[in-house]
């Protein structure tokens, strides 16, 4: 039963979950919660409890919205729209447009003498902090991209901007992050700038 459920696509799982199939909803959670958490990490800053609360809030909203949900778009489109709004509300309610002290960017730049030697998890945690310090419009596109893995066209629709804008924002964000980390801009980036 569990294996059969795991083979179903999102739309089939949603249909079963709407009929009261708890296993199907559990599979939806298992499949998407890590991505939602990754997307919301920069909104929560370094507050681990806040991140758990945000993930929980997103799925509570999904449960409330399931009966009226109409699959006109792929399920992740709906899910990450909810996640984005939840993250925005959290930032607004906590007056944390910049959850991380901007001076961290300079200190990060100064102390990163050999980033390639750092374990990925440490580098990843530092990146989350730096993403949190990005301007809102860049942070949102990065969060959706790394959380959902959706194509830029979908991300643009969620954000209400053209695909090209979403793509260029992601590029700007990556360049900013690289600069913050003190990483040499690759030749490819130099060509594209």
């Amino acid at each position: 039963m569990r294996n059969e459920i795991a083979r179903l696509n999102d739309d089939e799982l949603v249909r079963l979950a709407r009929e009261g199939n708890r296993t199907a909803f559990g599979e939806i959670y298992d499949r998407h919660a890590p991505g939602v958490a990754r997307a919301l990490a920069s909104f929560a800053g370094e507050d681990r409890d806040a991140l758990d609360d945000l993930v929980q809030e997103v799925f509570f909203k999904v449960i409330e919205g399931l009966p009226s949900y109409t699959p006109r778009r792929p399920f992740p489109h709906w899910l990450y729209t909810i996640a984005l709004n939840t993250g925005r509300n959290h930032v607004r309610d906590n007056a944390r447009e910049l959850p991380v002290d901007p001076s961290d960017l300079e200190s990060a730049h100064a102390r990163d003498t050999c980033l390639t030697d750092l374990p990925e998890e440490i580098l990843g945690a530092r990146l989350v902090r730096l993403v949190a310090a990005l301007p809102g419009h860049l942070r949102e596109v990065v969060s959706l991209r790394i959380g959902s893995g959706l194509p830029y066209g979908e991300i643009g629709e969620i954000l209400g901007v053209p695909e090209g804008t979403a793509r260029s924002r992601m590029h700007s964000a990556v360049v900013d992050l690289r600069a913050s980390l003190g990483v040499v801009v690759s030749e490819q980036d130099k060509e594209s700038q």
């Binding site: 979950a17 708890r22 919660a33 758990d52 449960i63 990483v183 690759s186």
Partner: protein, 109 residues
């Protein structure tokens, strides 16, 4: 200076653990909303209480019902027992508590 790092790849591989209690809470909310019969660890299910709980509850309920019914069936039992006209002076003097109880019951019937 640093070597080349693929920022996008690092971003995509960021791991953010979620407290397992979040899933339990979410499934519990799902159960409340959709009435799932499968229950969850975070929900106290009535039919998952131990058997002694039901036995004790049934005993308490039975005592309560019997007490209530007894009071309704013999509403004047106590009053009759203490009314001098209903009991002779001799019988009052020699009456054991048990006799008095039988008398009031029979009288009420």
């Amino acid at each position: 200076m640093n070597g080349k790092i693929d920022i996008e790849r690092l971003l995509m591989r960021i791991r953010t653990g979620i407290d397992p209690r979040v899933k339990r809470a979410v499934l519990s909310r799902y159960d409340q909303r959709f009435g799932s019969a499968q229950g969850s660890a975070g929900t106290v299910r009535l039919w998952r209480r131990p058997v002694p709980f039901y036995l004790a509850a049934a005993a308490v309920l039975a005592v309560a019902v019997l007490s209530f019914a007894g009071g309704r069936r013999f509403p004047h039992a106590e009053r009759v027992a203490t009314t001098p006209a209903a009991v002779s002076r001799d019988s009052l003097a020699s009456a054991e508590p048990e006799q008095e109880w039988r008398f009031t019951q029979r009288d009420a019937l």
